[in-house]
Amino acid sequence: MTSVARMTTLLPNELIARLERLRVQALRRTTSRGRGDHLTGRGGASVDFVDFRDYAPGDDLRFVDWNVFSRLGRPYLKLYKLEEERHLAIVVDVSRSMRFEGKLAKARELAAAFAVMGLHGDDRVGVWAVDGTTKDPQRLRPARGRQFLRRAFAALEGVTEAEGTVPIERALEELLNRGRGRGVVVVLSDFLTAGDLTRSLNLVAAAGWEPLLVQILGASELDPELSGDARLVDSETGEELDVSAAGDLLALYHEHRLAHQRRLAAWCARRQGRFVDAPASEDTGAIVARLRRAGWLA
């Protein structure tokens, strides 16, 4: 019996094989200027016909529709869709809150999954992990083509410590400051931040990125078993919060958690983005299947 070496520790080969046949489906056409495989709203040199226009001197005669010219006696130019490249930015939250209960591992796996889909789908894939200490948070510079798959895996495998001090909203702003191009940004985070997340997301959307937000939560966040008096410590800021009779507060906590998720989903709906929650304990393949059913992937 022979064993096939795994391409990466992040994903099994079988899942990678499945992912290779999937593409990230954007809701809007947000592409970069570079030539690529993604149709844009503008005219281009693809095989997809868009419209006719009057011939103007200097136009390429190859695009004149000679059949129309023979019937009407006037030259018309055939216009085709423009194919541009699409950026797929994968932002992994490496703040300290992600070190709990396998949240970072799940984020890395999902990031790897999106990288596989992006590189096989001719997207220009970049991986971002903003921890506030590394000079270049861009772990994988935007690259195109499946030959960069191993580099993408290596970059993600290198993200082992969630000791960052940068909250997710600042990580997104870092993406805007350093990143180029337009396309889809996949944000893998727990989105539990005291900062103004909405502002950062608005900036991202305004910059031409279509946000796909994946909220990864651990068991203690989805179903905390808290009771009695306790002093809660924020893993990121070190702030403390005293709670008494915490068991009585659980119902209220769940209300706030669901309201937070609803707010994120509503924001995404307004900005033509999408939101999904992914428990850290859920199998990556199952999450992928769920995303496919939701129309994220095709």
Partner: protein
């Protein structure tokens, strides 16, 4: 009304200050690291807005500690609930220790145990300036302690109490308390009893009485009387009375033991509140014990035995002077009488005889030497004016038309009243009054009696009257009585029946346990007040006597376990009050509550605040 014995303990409340201080200095919570507090902060903020009491809830431990301190401070103040009026300084507590207080309830505890518990509560709730005095109300009331606030002494005295095997003398106990009140005045006394007390009690109370009842109705049957009467066929007829309480029923067996050997049995069927009688024939004499064996529950064991010492039966020996043929003839016709010349039980002579061995000496036609100065005899006639019909010697003897051909009169200068009084001073009692003087006088002496007919029967119609043989029969019965051979009664426990011996002589008494004590006869030769606290045989010896006295409880009130709910003391009626102490101490309840709060506080402080899916971080 609520009061406190140690109000100064309220200063302990100041301990709340260091508790609050240390609480906030040493507030220790389990530290739990969470990925983010973003949501929890919203939750807490929301909760604070919606629940104004949330802030209070945060310091639950502090409030529990303060509540515990408050309870401890209150307990230290020794609060009490006062069920009566103003608190009294001295309170005598009379505790019934009669035999019925030994009655056991179904649970096994005696009524005295219940009374002890009640009094122990009173001792515990005793105020600092309150003094109690414990008095045991038994056969002879005993003062167990003086008025004292020493709880240890009171408790020790209380624990030493045990039920006696005799009825209690409640009146004497009240008299004792009354006498104590003269030296140490008090306003109120407490009587703790099962209600088995006389009704009414013949005593005047100079203080208010609290009557506390203990115990409840329970089944009991016991021997309430036991006596033996001499039969004409030289045998004893033993009669036993058995009475039951209102709750008793079922079968019982009465067993007779003579000198420790079973002699006979009788089966009985007890009825609630009923009475039964049984009789046995006992040949000869001996130490007789009667045992009642109740099949089923019997609350009191001490009343199930009675003791009698029956002497061997002998004929009555009578010596009659030859000059008195009518007497001899009448006496010889009496059953179980033997006419003898020596060692008689009865001496009948026509003059005064000095034979002290005879139980009964009858002088016919003679004036006792002591009365010669008071009475003179002469020719003439005398008639009967009055006579003591209730005296045993004159029972059923009719002397109304007796003719005496002899003048018997008080000496000149001595009137009727003076003469009778003078005779009584000399120890002679006039039994038959003639029209001028006494016709028949009697004298009680140690070990017997003297009878003097001041007229000669030959000079009267007495021998020809129907009453003469009756009088002879009464003489024989009285002689038997003096010898203790007519009827033997089981003496009730308490004190032995009075005994007459030579004045100043000493009598040794051996009780059923074998312990001996001595008693000295008084100037009149009476030995009285010899204690007989337990049922059994008491053997008396010395001063020329050898006597055995059987003692038992034999008390109807004790065996029936009767209960008097209202104590009637002369014209005052005292209703029983519930068996609750006057002052009910609250410190125990408060201390128990403080303990419970401490346990809750411990549980709250040590319960794990987070289980399973979060991690604690070192503080």
């Amino acid at each position: 009304m609520i009061g406190a014995h140690a109000v100064a303990a309220a200063w302990l409340a100041l301990l709340a200050l260091p508790i609050v201080l240390f609480y906030f200095l040493k507030l220790r919570r389990s530290r739990l690291e969470l990925p983010s507090l973003a949501l929890w902060r919203q939750v807490i903020e929301d909760r604070r807005v919606n629940s104004p009491f949330q802030r209070l809830k945060r310091h639950l431990l502090l409030y529990l500690q303060l509540l515990m301190l408050a309870l401890i401070v209150l307990a230290a103040m020794q609060p009490f609930l006062h069920s009566g009026g103003a608190r009294l300084e001295r309170v005598p507590v009379l505790i019934d220790v009669s035999a019925s207080m030994g009655a056991r309830a179904d649970g096994g505890a005696t009524r005295l145990d219940e009374a002890k518990k009640l009094v122990a509560g009173m001792i515990d709730a005793q105020a600092a300036d309150q003094q109690l005095c414990l008095i045991a109300v038994g056969r002879v009331p005993r003062r167990l302690t003086g008025f004292t606030d020493d709880r240890r002494e009171l408790t020790r005295a209380l624990e030493s109490l045990a039920p006696e095997e005799a009825a209690a003398d409640v009146a004497a106990a009240l008299h004792l308390a009354q006498a104590m009140g003269r030296a140490d005045p008090f306003q109120r006394a407490v009587l703790v009893s099962d209600g088995n007390v006389p009704d009414p009690i013949d005593v005047d109370l100079a203080f208010r009485m609290d009557y506390r009842l203990v115990g409840s109705g329970t089944a009991n049957a016991g021997i309430t009387a036991c006596s033996a009467r001499r039969r004409s066929d030289r045998a004893w007829e033993l009669m036993v009375a058995i009475e039951s309480s209102a709750d008793a029923s079922g079968a019982a067996t009465l067993a007779l033991l003579v000198d420790g050997e079973p002699a006979a049995t009788r089966d009985l069927l007890l009825t609630p509140g009923g009475a039964d009688r049984a009789s046995f024939r006992v040949e000869g004499g001996g130490d007789v014990e009667v045992r009642l064996d109740v099949q089923g529950f019997d609350a009191l064991a001490v009343d199930d035995r009675a003791f009698l010492s029956l002497p061997a039966l002998k004929p009555v020996r009578v010596a009659v002077a030859a000059s008195l043929p009518a007497w001899r003839k009448a006496m010889s016709a009496q059953p179980d009488v033997e006419i003898v010349a020596s060692e008689p039980d009865i001496v009948i002579a026509d003059g005064i005889t000095g034979d002290d061995r005879a139980s009964l000496r009858v002088a016919v036609g003679a004036v006792p030497a002591e009365l010669t100065a008071l009475v003179e005899r002469g020719d003439g006639a005398s008639s009967v004016v009055d006579y003591q019909r209730s005296h045993p010697l004159l029972a059923h003897v009719v002397l109304d038309d007796l003719v005496v051909a002899q003048r018997i009169a008080w000496a000149p200068g001595i009137g009727e009243n003076n003469g009778e009084s003078a005779a009584e001073l000399l120890g002679w009692r006039v039994l038959v009054h003639g029209d001028r003087g006494p016709l028949l006088v009697a004298h009680e002496r140690a070990g017997g009696a003297d009878l003097a007919l001041l007229f000669h029967t030959d000079r009267s119609t007495l021998p020809f009257r129907l009453g003469f043989p009756v009088l002879i029969g009464n003489l024989v019965a009285h002689a038997l009585h003096l010898r203790g051979q007519d009827e033997i009664v089981c003496a009730p426990a308490g004190t032995l029946p009075a005994l007459t011996v030579a004045p100043g002589s000493e009598v040794t008494v051996v009780d059923p346990d074998g312990a001996s004590a001595s008693a000295v006869a008084g100037p009149d030769g009476a030995v009285v007040g010899v204690a007989a606290p337990r049922a059994g045989f008491y053997r008396l010896s010395g001063a020329g006597i050898e006597q055995v006295v059987g003692v038992g409880l034999v008390d109807t009130r004790e065996s029936r376990l009767t209960r008097v709910d209202t104590l009637r003391v002369r014209e005052v009626a005292v209703d029983a009050t519930p068996a609750a102490p006057t002052e009910r101490g609250l410190w125990r309840a408060l201390a128990a509550a403080a303990l419970v709060i401490a346990l809750i506080e411990w549980w709250v402080a040590h319960r794990r605040p987070l289980i399973g899916n979060a991690r604690a971080v070192p503080t």
